[in-house]
Amino acid sequence: MEIDVRAGLERLAERLGGAGATLTEAGRLSGGASMETWAFGFEGKGGPESLILRRRSVPFDPETARSVSLATEAALIQATGANGARAPKVRHVCDDADGLGEAYVMVRVGGETLGRKITSDPRFDAIRPDLARQCGEVLVPIHATVPPAGLTLKVSDAQGELDRYWDSYVMSGAQRPILELAFQYLRRHMPEPVEPILLHGDFRNGNIMFDPEIGVAAVLDWELAHIGDPAEDMGWICTNSWRFGRPDRPVGGFGEYADLLAGYAAAGGRPIELSRVRFWQMLGSLRWGVMCLGMYLSWRDGITKSVERPMIGRRVSETEADLVVLLEEGL
């Protein structure tokens, strides 16, 4: 059933802003395959409000989904925010009365999320040298948050992640010697087990709202949150596919490893060794390579039709070009 989002937003304006509140703006910002983001605003009893609606456009299957439900996502944003994390403010979690399906509303945060702007736009030249340290700092209250009782979160360590991506790779039927060698190498260099904690799960340049004056404004896109190794969040933001043309700056294309690690430790995080981050970074490239294969398969198998999918399949070779260098360098 097609949902009329605009009509739903008008109802939300009245519900949140009081009787007579009307929409002053509404527009779709971006579309992932299964998630929609809308910016909207209204003039209510308490004054004007600028908000973001995040809603799932295809039904959620908790059995097969890698992501958490939007209600869980909202609960995690609130819990980490209460613990001092730079997370958006949740304004409302939608229910049946809203007629918008699975969705929640958050307060709009100003800033920039486009990765290439963060790495290259002169507006960020002044703040850029601080960003890696800030990224280390902002991870600490996320990692220190005790997930609210009753939430279902997946638990996965290095072995679990490696096994999961191996299964996906084997099932794809692809034969890629560089990916094979990366799997073999990582299996032989597993980090020591560590106390598992709450992770953002998709902590990378592109999912962080940056402000040219203050730096990190908010950490967004919490759908892959899970319980695991804290170094996973650090390795992912160091994965070259998210450095947006600046491989010479290992953290997100804007900063240095030492600053990320120092920021984390200075904010009270348990110190993490660089080799551990490098393990997860390499696993990050492998993860993205296997994900790209999966996106191609969803097209081949007729699940999605967009021309975007087979082209993403051709991005496997970017991860191979990164992996051969990482294999040469070692952890």
């Binding site: 010697p177 070259n240 051709r314 294999l327």
Partner: protein, 122 residues
């Protein structure tokens, strides 16, 4: 193969046409059109650079495996012998061969990509 036009020229002409009509499209279709234009460019590069890349890959894999063969067979055997643990990062010549293969493939798929280890742009 006929040469007037060559297949890669057909692909290039479609790419140029897509770029021409892109400004007339709504944002979603403009984005997809850009992806489609990139796909045509990849096809053109594969047609022109693919044969040399495949020949280099075959030579590299044959060197590591110690015998001749076609691309698909050598590639499958290489994967199998890495998977079994027989070939490793330390195997002489393996990483060098894989590095050539990766470099040639990214030059076809995404020549603007700057892999790990690329120095800062000047």
């Amino acid at each position: 193969m006929i040469t007037h036009p060559k297949t890669e020229e057909l692909a290039e002409s479609v790419r140029l046409w897509i770029d021409e009509i892109r400004p007339t499209l709504d944002p979603r279709n403009a984005f997809l059109a850009r992806v489609a234009a990139n796909a045509m460019a990849t096809i053109a590069r594969e047609l022109t650079q693919g044969p040399a890349a495949e020949a280099a890959a075959v030579a590299g894999m044959a060197g590591v495996l110690g015998h001749e063969g076609g691309f698909a067979d050598l590639n499958a055997e290489l994967c199998e012998r890495i998977r079994s643990g027989e070939l490793t990062r330390e195997t002489p010549g393996l990483l060098a061969a894989l590095t050539v293969m990766a470099r040639d493939q990214i030059a076809i798929d995404q020549p603007s990509y700057r892999p790990e280890g690329t120095p800062a742009p000047r």
